[in-house]
Amino acid sequence: MNGDYDSGSPPLVKLAAKTGALDILTTTVDKLFSWGQANALWPMTFGLACCAIEYMASAAPMYDTDRFGVILRSSPRQSDVMVVAGTVTNKMAPVVRQLYEQMPDPKWVIAMGICTIAGGPFRTYSTLQGVDRIIPVDVHVPGCPPRPEALIDAILLLQRQIKQEGVLRWQPRPLPPRPTGVGHGVEPVQ
């Protein structure tokens, strides 16, 4: 791979550029894997409310997230990204948590829409007040619902985060307590 290399390049690269004989590229294994991981994010196919419509629109040909390597999978065991799209109810919370735990490491979470982020307009007995309470979230996408451009922006942001963090140095996020599925799971307020 010949080209212009500045003086900061490693000696072997400079040598390769000088001779033109060796087509080599030096990098770390972590960077290579991170590059591959960031460009092959496979989200799990599941939607909980109206945000899922925008999520589907993002994957459809008009916005076509396939071009970023985002290919929807139908099983948590084949996925590395969970896009929580829609209102999470207290009854659904243990299911979402179990789906997250079924995903293999390394894994990331995008919280899509204000309902997922903080309960949105539903300050009610049945709605989880933010998915952060049950699973660790990497990227929040505000909106009601967010447009596909916003979700694409979140995917690009997550790609940048993966490249910065390094996929081999990925650490499991601290998990919030497991939801009980019974109300908000806290002591009643008086």
Binding site: R123, T124, Y125, Q129, V182, G185
Partner: protein, 185 residues
């Protein structure tokens, strides 16, 4: 070619007269509101009333469309169960209502209509009205271990167990009034 008639078999007045003749003294109250016929019967007769409405060949109320409930907290019999009936042969619609007190049960309609199963479970779940002889009276929408019945009038929208850190709190961690929708007063 199939001839389809959308005409109703009876006018609302004729339907109420027919129902009154069939049920007689069981009816404690009846009304026609915007051509919708509704009758109220005591809760101990609700099963026989609905059974006779279903089995009567002229009325033929063969379909149970829905079971709903209303909470009137100021009344002595504070819970009202409403049965919406449909006659497919006569293109007729009517409602049958009954009143119960808190904790008092209503006869289950599952022997008459299988579809009453989940509808009664929903009424039990949201309003807390128990149904006698129901085959499987569990909660259906809310978690099975949930302690409250949220559609009762006294129930706070956020629930008694709303997480305190999701409220607007002051320096003493005291819950402030709900300012999410602005000050309405």
């Amino acid at each position: 070619m199939i001839e389809t008639s959308y005409e109703q078999k009876y006018t609302p007045d004729e339907l109420l007269g027919k129902v009154s003749g069939l049920l007689g003294s069981s009816i404690t109250r009846s009304e026609i509101y915007r051509d919708d016929v509704a009758v109220e019967v005591p809760s101990d007769r609700i099963f026989s009333v609905l059974n006779s409405l279903k089995s009567d060949p002229d009325l033929d109320m063969a379909m149970l469309v829905d079971i709903t409930s209303v909470h009137w907290p100021d009344d002595e019999l504070e819970f009202e169960v409403v049965y919406h009936l449909r006659s497919m042969s006569g293109n007729l619609f009517m409602a049958v209502k009954t009143r119960v007190a808190d904790g008092q049960s209503v006869a289950s309609m599952t022997p008459l209509w299988k579809s009453a199963d989940w509808q009664e479970r929903e009424v039990y779940d949201m309003m807390g009205i128990p149904f006698e002889n129901h085959p499987d009276l569990r909660r259906i929408l809310l978690p099975e271990d949930y302690q409250w019945h949220p559609l009762r009038k006294g129930f706070p929208l956020e629930g008694p167990d709303f997480p305190i850190d999701a409220h607007q709190t002051d320096a003493h961690n005291k819950v402030e009034p709900d300012d999410f929708w602005g000050d309405a007063s």
